[in-house]
């Protein structure tokens, strides 16, 4: 039996090609994900382990205990503590580390690394082993910095150049004294690292004479644990934390593998979708192969093969196909894994170097997935093959497509669809997180239901297209009829495309709606012309608010300044605002009481009020960081949003208690309103600082839109695989149809349909099937987008369903394009068919 099966594989290699390709793509996706994640996780771990090479124990300060009801602050490490450490026996050397946000402007004045990966630190002494210099010399004094080599390469800065750097206050313009190499993870991920000499770094990033941590290197013969014990003894253990270098590296490694496994799972979900779509193609192919080989299989039965043997021969065929797909998929996956890294590199997301890691688990997974999926999908066709009676060997005709009634199937499909719709609708009435699980369940039920119903749906939907097809004359008519000729096959082919488009449309609808909701929130709540903030989302320097308030162009400004306080045993973040101007800068809906902020009068948002059972007139006592308390009265309740929320109080009441608190944002109204001139003026007022953002409402929407666009594009990229597999499915189905109908096509040619007409007939059939899948997918996607939005809407008052008509149009065009593309080869084949051999009766 094995030999027969093997012969069959070779005999039908062309017809199995698409199946192999489809499985291969899925397997490649899986193994590519595994190879890629294990490779970069290995590289990250190596680079981070290297980063801890010189550290045997790290000493860091603990948080102070809060006094009474007030809150603690982190301590600093002092020069004296460093001296203590240095003198300990068993210590070879100790490095005082100062670190903090440091923004570096590139030659166009733009911040390098986007804010979150812009770091500054100290260069220790005259020769810091952590930062080997590539060129130039170590930074000395307040006017010199050293920059990392990747940043130097990216920005084009060289030793001797003057650069613009901002830490917190005004812009500094130091000279680049040197360029160094580093394995720092932030730099590897596209950020920048600027080094000052220790005194300057302390002044800028900490306090003079203090450190954020101390890295200690053990003398020869002293183990990390011994050193840690000695340090614990020498330093007041309550004030510092000591961690061995090994533990630091282990913790880091664990953190890396945790974040990698998230990425891996995310990618595998999409690989799973592609594979799922692939199963339709496999099942289709084997169904057709079995149908075409009815006579052959019947002959096997007639000469004495058992049913089991027939099934087994089909499964062996599937095994061979799956193995080929698994092996080629694995190879392709390794290629993808390697290629993806360099691809990401060209997009600017730098990853540390390292060898390609192909774990045995990746190999096993690739082969198992390829073989199991193929055999599973071929199982039903295999059983069907066994049911062919031996007598079928005698009849001369091709086996007809299963004409078994669709009644059972339709009933089942209707049940699933009904249940799915019901569950989804019910889930939309639930609030937020409660609805997620039922919504997911309903979505799965509905997709299964629609999939089962596709044969039934194909007739009316394709019939609806017939007026358009009539334009194409007899080719159109034949195409329409051919496409509903084998509803099961058409359904399976269209379903493959449907799944991809459902997901793509659903995501687009949701993302578009959420984006608009957030924009609306920001736009409707803010009346200010500009919002000034830090690029890294941290507090602004104190002078920013002062400068803006003093500027002649600014007519009104208010800070948004956060300060923690304990109220009734809970920590609440109070936001200090300018009570006299905030009304002109924001537009908040007041639900109850007055929007009045001054002295002890505060306003709170609805959520906070509800949580704390506050109403208008409620009295509360806030304990601040400085240990003092203040009695406050709620004068109004407003509707909060993503931009402004929580308790708002007057800045003059807050400031005495929170001297260290600084502005998160400053809202500004200018004399000239929003214009590029007024924006430039503001930027100049603030000293053209690369780390300070001045954003109008439009800028805010743009940056929100940018995030969503990026996210959507990534999803599109990942779902593209499922669509490509679906295209292979359409090609496969068409090729099989052309093969099955070669006699008909020969007859059509003989009685006068020219090659163009034949081509058009195949193309239109492909178009009809693809558009059918597209319409179903887009329809389902819109439904899911709407349903998920209903769920989201409960936590987002400005949420409203936005139907992206233009995008949906593009998706439909895409489905049509898929159809035309998929038909290229089958249509050519059909048109080139040898008429005489085709019409000859067998």
């Amino acid at each position: 039996m094995f030999r027969t099966a093997l012969r069959n594989v070779f005999a039908h290699k062309a017809r199995l090609l698409m199946t192999v390709l489809a499985v291969m793509l899925g397997v490649a996706f899986v193994s590519g994900t595994l190879v890629f994640t294990s490779t970069i996780s290995n590289a990250f771990q190596n680079s981070s382990a290297k980063g801890f090479d010189g550290v045997d124990v790290s000493v860091s300060p603990t948080y102070q205990e809060g006094r009474g009801d007030s809150l603690g602050k982190p301590r600093e490490l002092t020069q004296a503590q460093l001296a203590t450490v240095e003198k300990l026996p068993g210590v070879e050397s100790a490095v005082g580390v100062v670190k903090g946000f440091t923004g570096l402007a590139d030659k166009h004045g733009k911040l390098v690394g986007g804010g979150f990966q812009s770091e500054g630190a100290n260069y220790w002494g005259t020769k810091d082993a952590r930062y080997p210099l590539v060129s130039g010399s170590a930074p000395h004094g307040a006017d010199e910095i050293a920059i990392d080599s990747r940043t130097a390469e990216r920005t084009g800065y060289k030793v001797g150049d003057t650069v613009r750097v901002s830490v917190d206050g005004p812009v500094l313009t130091p000279r680049v004294s040197g360029v160094f190499r580093t394995d720092d993870g932030n730099v590897a991920a596209g950020g920048s690292l600027a080094l000052f000499d220790t005194a300057t770094a302390q002044k800028l990033l900490a306090k003079p004479g203090t450190y954020d941590s101390i890295d200690v290197k053990a003398a020869a013969g002293t183990s990390q644990t011994e050193l840690k014990a000695a340090l614990d003894k020498a330093l007041t253990t309550k004030a510092v934390d000591t961690v061995t270098g090994k533990k630091l590296a282990d913790d880091q490694a664990e953190a890396i593998s945790r974040s990698m496994s998230g990425l891996k799972q995310g990618l595998l979900v999409f690989a799973g979708i592609a594979l799922f779509v692939g199963t339709f193609i496999i099942a289709n192919t084997f169904t057709m192969l079995v149908a075409q080989r009815t006579k052959e299989l019947a002959l096997l039965r007639a000469v004495g093969a058992s049913r089991r043997q027939v099934t087994r021969s089909v499964l062996i065929e599937a095994f061979v196909v799956g193995s080929v797909a698994g092996v080629t998929g694995l190879l392709a996956g390794i290629g993808i894994g390697a290629g993806l890294r360099s691809l990401l590199g060209t997009f600017g997301a730098d990853l540390p170097d390292g060898p390609l890691v192909v774990e045995p688990s990746a190999i096993v997974a690739a082969l198992a997935v390829g073989i199991l999926i193929t055999m599973l999908a071929a199982w039903l066709p295999g059983r069907r093959a066994a049911r062919i009676p031996p007598v079928a060997a005698m009849s001369s005709l091709h086996a007809q497509a299963t004409t078994k009634s669709l009644v059972l199937r339709n009933t089942l499909g209707a049940l699933f669809t009904g249940a799915g719709v019901a569950v989804v609708l019910w889930a939309t009435t639930l609030s937020g997180s409660d609805g997620q699980a039922p919504m997911g369940l309903g979505a799965v039920l509905l997709i299964i239901g629609v999939f089962i119903l596709t044969p039934l749906l194909s007739r009316p939907l394709i019939a609806a297209a017939s007026p358009v097809l009539r334009i194409f004359g007899v080719s159109g008519k034949l195409a329409r009829q051919n496409s509903v000729r084998n509803p099961r096959r058409t359904a399976a082919t269209a379903s493959a495309l449907m799944i991809g488009l459902t997901l793509i449309t659903g995501m687009t609808v949701m993302a578009g709606s959420v984006q608009q909701a957030i924009e609306k929130m920001a736009a409707s709540a803010i009346r200010a012309d500009y919002v000034v903030s830090m690029a890294n989302g941290r507090e602004l320097s104190k002078d920013v608010g002062e400068k803006l308030a003093a500027s002649g162009d600014v007519t009104a400004s208010s800070p948004l300044r956060n300060a923690p306080a304990r109220i009734g045993g809970e920590t609440e973040y109070l936001t200090g605002v300018n009570g006299s101007t905030i009304g002109r800068l924001t537009d908040l809906k007041v639900d109850d009481g007055d929007f009045k902020i001054s002295g002890d009068r505060i306003v709170v948002d609805k959520g906070t009020a509800k949580r704390n059972h506050w109403t208008v007139g409620s009295q509360l006592t806030a304990h601040f960081e400085d240990g003092k308390a203040e009695r406050l009265t709620v004068s109004g309740v407003y509707e909060g949003n993503e931009v402004i929320q929580g308790a708002l109080m007057d800045i003059s009441t807050l400031t005495p208690h929170a001297s260290d608190s600084r502005d998160m944002q400053v809202l500004v109204k200018t004399k000239d309103g929003v214009s590029s001139a007024s924006k430039d003026k503001l930027i100049k007022t603030l000293g053209t600082n690369p780390v300070i953002q001045v954003q109008s409402k439009q800028d805010l929407s743009d940056s929100i839109a940018q995030i969503f666009t990026l996210m959507l594009n990534m999803l599109y990229g990942l779902l593209a695989m499922a669509v490509i597999v679906a295209v292979l499915g359409v090609i496969n189905t068409l090729a099989m149809s052309v093969f099955e109908r070669s006699q008909e096509i020969g007859m059509l040619r003989a009685i006068g349909l020219d090659r163009k007409g034949i081509k058009r007939m195949v193309r239109l059939e492909s178009l009809v099937i693809s558009l059918f899948g597209g319409v179903l997918g887009i329809g389902l996607g819109v439904f899911f987008g709407w349903a998920a939005g209903e769920l989201l809407g409960t936590s987002m008052p400005t949420y409203e369903l936005v139907l992206p008509w233009a995008r949906m149009g593009i998706f439909l065009l895409l489905a049509g394009f898929v159809g035309v593309l998929a038909a290229l080869w089958p249509a050519r084949r059909a048109a080139r068919l040898n008429m005489l051999t085709a019409i000859k009766a067998e």
């Binding site: 004359g473 007899v474 008519k477 034949l478 009829q481 051919n482 000729r485 006699q743 008909e744 007859m747 059509l748 040619r749 003989a750 009685i751 006068g752 349909l753 020219d754 090659r755 007409g757 008429m835 005489l836 019409i839 009766a841």
Partner: protein, 257 residues
């Protein structure tokens, strides 16, 4: 021996004519001559049967004359059109407009109704069928009650009658049949052949049919015999017996020579 025309047919116009028609497959050692300088006329309103043993070239002759296959040398005319110089597109159009076909395997489109199958050549051409003519054809083949049925709902004989109607419906200059009764039982076969003969007698249609069945050939006005790619004999007004006799004769001749 080829031209001893029966009285009354001397003035008949030629519907299709092959002159020195040769068809050679392969080259050199493996060369096979399927047709060897065959010259033959098919007259209008005449029912011709082409006979010969397997491999005699009878199907090839029909395919070449019908514009289904290319030939190596010589010429073929359908009406006034010389086929040798035509491109595929023009040949297709010629087949569509001037030729009707009936094949052995019924070759109907299973998705179309009987009526739609009958009008298919006109649909392809984008022409409206001549309703009166269509009605008379349908009446003749006696399928009026079954026009809405699909081929799978018709018997083999009924399917082949639909195929005959399709060939007749577009009023082609000539109809070619390739073993049109090969897949039918004798009664259905007789019916189909009767229709073909009637179409010649009553409608003035020209029909050329390839067959190996002497009974089928007996329905024709004229039988031509092929052997080894050459035209070897011809018989007018055949009966099943005379055809069988000729076949035996030349079968033994073929064997001895």
């Amino acid at each position: 021996m080829t031209t001893t025309p029966v009285a009354g047919r001397t003035t008949a116009t030629v519907a299709a004519r092959a002159t020195d028609l040769s068809k050679i497959y392969g080259q050199g050692e493996t060369q096979v001559v399927a047709l060897d300088r065959v010259s033959i006329d098919f007259h209008q309103a005449e029912f011709t049967a082409i006979m010969g043993p397997s491999g005699s070239g009878k199907s090839t002759l029909m395919h070449c004359v019908a514009g289904l296959d290319s030939f190596s040398s010589g010429s073929v005319r359908i009406g006034d059109t010389e086929l040798g110089s035509l491109k595929d597109k023009q040949l297709t159009r010629l087949r569509r407009d001037k030729i009707g076909f009936i094949f052995q395997a019924f070759n109907l489109l299973p998705t179309l109704t009987a009526l739609e199958n009958i009008t298919l050549p006109m649909d392809i051409a984008g022409r409206k069928p001549d309703q009166q003519w269509l009605d008379s054809v349908i009446e003749m083949i006696g399928l009026s009650g079954r026009l809405g049925h699909r081929p799978s709902e018709l018997s083999g004989g009924q399917q082949q009658r639909v195929a005959v109607a399709r060939a007749l419906a577009s009023r082609p200059e000539i109809i070619f049949g390739d073993e049109p009764t090969g897949n039918l039982d004798s009664r259905s076969g007789a019916e189909v052949l009767g229709f073909l003969r009637n179409s010649v007698r009553e409608l003035g249609q020209t029909v050329v049919m390839v067959t190996h069945d002497p009974v089928a050939a007996a329905y024709a006005d004229r039988v031509v015999f092929l052997a080894d790619g050459r035209l070897v004999d011809e018989l007018y007004g055949p009966t099943a017996d005379t055809v069988l006799d000729r076949m035996k004769q030349f079968d033994s001749k073929g064997r001895t020579s």
